[in-house]
């Protein structure tokens, strides 16, 4: 069904609809803007985000420090922009881990069925039986505070629901003519899954990924907020937010800046995801 859907809605219609829907257009703009600024960060005329200057702690915004300085005298704007790199890279890496894990489990489960399917789906059910944030906090907490461990924790928590969705897609693709055709000319199971089925489910997967980016960003920033993620001096929004709490009375901007950054980026991904979903969902397709 998904394959047919993709063929029925030409790419031009997606752009056209996106244009008509200001929300998703805005979302796309926010995401593209943040990615652009983050990518260009080393080229921008910014202070070193990790340079300590205790003479200049907690300065108010000025021409030199547009968002002021933090409790260690570091330029807040620079930390915010370099923090976007941390957030985006970590979210993208987590997403890659999640999708690899979910596609492997989902494909094995959906393609082979039988006892393998039963066992794998039991594991998936089990993972979903844990409240996500609680498992995330526990895994990150036990592995010890680091960026890598936060990515592992987020992946452990999130792969299961995607594995189930991918299983469903593979299951419905398995009996299509093109799979039968591939099998008839002697393609191996691995080849069928990797070359034939995956190409047909990649579209819906992209939607799934966009819809999920917001949640992953919130999860990573939340764990960093608890001190489990980015370690000093790495600039990261959740950690910056946590640092700012002791100074909220005198320097509220240190709280509002990373808070707004998280809000804006998540909003951007959510709007983009909503827009793409509306376009791909025939019931709302105009």
């Amino acid at each position: 069904m998904e394959g047919a859907l993709r063929r029925r809605i030409p790419r031009r219609a997606i752009l056209h609809n996106m244009h008509r829907d200001p929300g998703s257009f805005l979302g796309f703009g926010i995401v593209a803007g943040v990615i652009l600024v983050a990518a260009l960060a080393p080229l921008l005329p910014l202070h070193d985000p990790t340079h300590l200057d205790l003479q200049n702690r907690l300065l108010s915004p000025s021409f030199e420090f547009p968002l002021g300085t933090d409790h260690l005298g570091r330029d807040e704007l620079s930390r915010l922009i370099f923090g976007a790199r941390t957030t985006l890279l970590m979210s993208a890496a987590s997403l890659a881990i999640i999708m690899t894990l979910a596609s492997t489990v989902g494909s094995l489960s959906g393609y082979y069925g039988g006892w393998l399917d039963t066992v794998l789906m039991m594991v998936v059910d089990l993972m979903l039986a844990f409240p996500s944030l609680i498992l995330g906090v526990a895994v990150a907490g036990i592995l010890g505070p680091s960026l890598i461990n936060v990515m592992i924790a987020v992946s452990v928590v999130w792969w299961a629901s995607h594995a189930r969705v991918i299983r469903g897609m593979v299951l419905s693709a398995r009996n299509k003519e093109y799979v039968e055709g591939a099998r008839a000319i002697g393609a191996s199971d691995g080849r069928i899954v990797v070359y034939h089925i995956s190409r047909n489910i990649v579209g819906p997967l992209v939607v799934l990924v966009t819809l999920d980016m917001g949640w992953i960003i919130l999860g990573i920033a939340g764990l960093s907020f608890l001190g489990l993620g980015a370690q000093p001096p790495t600039p990261e929004w959740g950690a910056m937010l946590n640092d700012s709490r002791s100074y909220m009375q005198t320097s509220p901007i240190l709280l509002l800046a990373p808070g707004s950054a998280i809000f804006l980026l998540v909003l951007g991904f959510n709007l983009m995801g909503d827009g793409i979903r509306d376009i791909l969902d025939p019931t709302t397709y105009r």
């Binding site: 844990f130 409240p131 944030l133 939340g222 937010l241 909220m248 909003l267």
Partner: protein, 306 residues
């Protein structure tokens, strides 16, 4: 998946968590008893033997689970106190916070969702949709310090931290409930719009019922079905969010306990916490399933009429 299997799985995962933790339980316990002095290797070997840490994994799991069932989750590495006692002592505070947040989210989210659906396309609907977008993008750990900044630091209306009075409860519960409120509102709106297009609503209108009676009387009950389904998930989400909120507001619940445990590398605390929360989540979802059957009598017949 059946309940006993899930319980078994949850216990295995909780048990395995401690196996991934760095450090040796015997060594850490001895360190505590010696007042921070590193124990001799001989002592460590002896205690490992005594605690049965050298036994094969399944035997250790069996021992751990039989203790856990009897309410013994072991002792804290740091204080030597019973973890189960501490969790039980703190659980009411966490449940109070999560339940208040859920109540706030339901009390605001569902009526707003209905209003938005009934007034579809008006400014009211638009504002509700905006609120839903903001609610999905502002996490509780951003909401909490912002609320604290305005209502406690700037205006001084409510205390920033503390526990004990309803005033203390308001800010953390608000911060925690915001995202869930937005989600419930969005879902209610979609669900009500869906229901209002049904034939029996047209019938109710045709026989001359007032619009209020059509919406709140006939429409709402069936519109609430999908909303009730997500209440279980929402509760899990709120329990998880409570961990962060508690550490911000100094709320003496299980979340604060586990964050302390993590920072002190007190891993059995983390293990016990995961086990308790997962079991609580399981029971809540069970309760939601039961109430769902009560709301939708068709399910009594094993879905025969669906």
């Amino acid at each position: 998946m059946t309940l006993p299997l899930l319980l078994l799985g949850i216990s295995i995962i909780s048990f395995m968590l401690l196996n991934f933790a760095p450090g040796d339980a015997a060594e850490i316990t001895l360190m505590r008893q010696n007042g921070g002095v590193a124990p001799s290797p001989q002592e460590v070997v002896e205690l490992r033997q005594e605690l049965g840490l050298n036994d094969p994994l399944p035997i250790r799991y069996g021992r751990w689970v039989s203790n856990a069932v009897r309410g013994d989750l072991g002792e804290s590495y740091r204080s030597g106190d019973s973890i189960a006692n501490e969790l039980l002592r703190r659980l009411p505070a966490t449940l109070l916070l999560a339940a208040t947040a859920l109540a706030l989210a339901v009390a605001a989210g569902i009526p707003l969702g209905v209003l938005a659906a009934v007034n579809r396309g008006t400014w009211l609907d638009t504002s509700c949709r905006l609120l839903a977008l903001v609610g999905a993008a502002v996490p509780s750990y951003v909401m909490a310090p912002v609320l604290m900044l305005f209502f406690a630091v700037k205006l001084g209306w409510l205390p920033a931290v503390g526990y004990g009075s309803p005033k203390n409860l308001l800010l953390p519960a608000l911060a925690l409930s915001f995202g869930t409120m937005a989600q419930l509102m969005r879902l209610t709106r979609a669900s009500v719009l869906d229901v209002l297009g049904q034939d029996y609503i047209r019938t109710a209108r045709a026989k001359g019922l007032s619009e209020r009676s059509v919406v709140w009387g006939h429409g709402l009950k069936s519109a609430l079905l999908p909303v009730v389904t997500v209440l279980g998930t929402s509760t899990g989400f709120l329990l998880g969010g409570a961990v962060i909120i508690e550490s911000i507001f100094g709320w003496p619940g299980v979340g604060q306990f586990v964050i302390q445990g993590i920072s002190q590398r007190d891993y059995p605390v983390v293990q016990g916490f995961v086990l308790y929360m997962a079991v609580a989540f399981l029971l809540i979802n069970l309760a939601v399933d039961v109430s769902y059957r009560w709301l939708d009598p068709r399910l009594h017949f094993g879905g025969k009429f669906n």
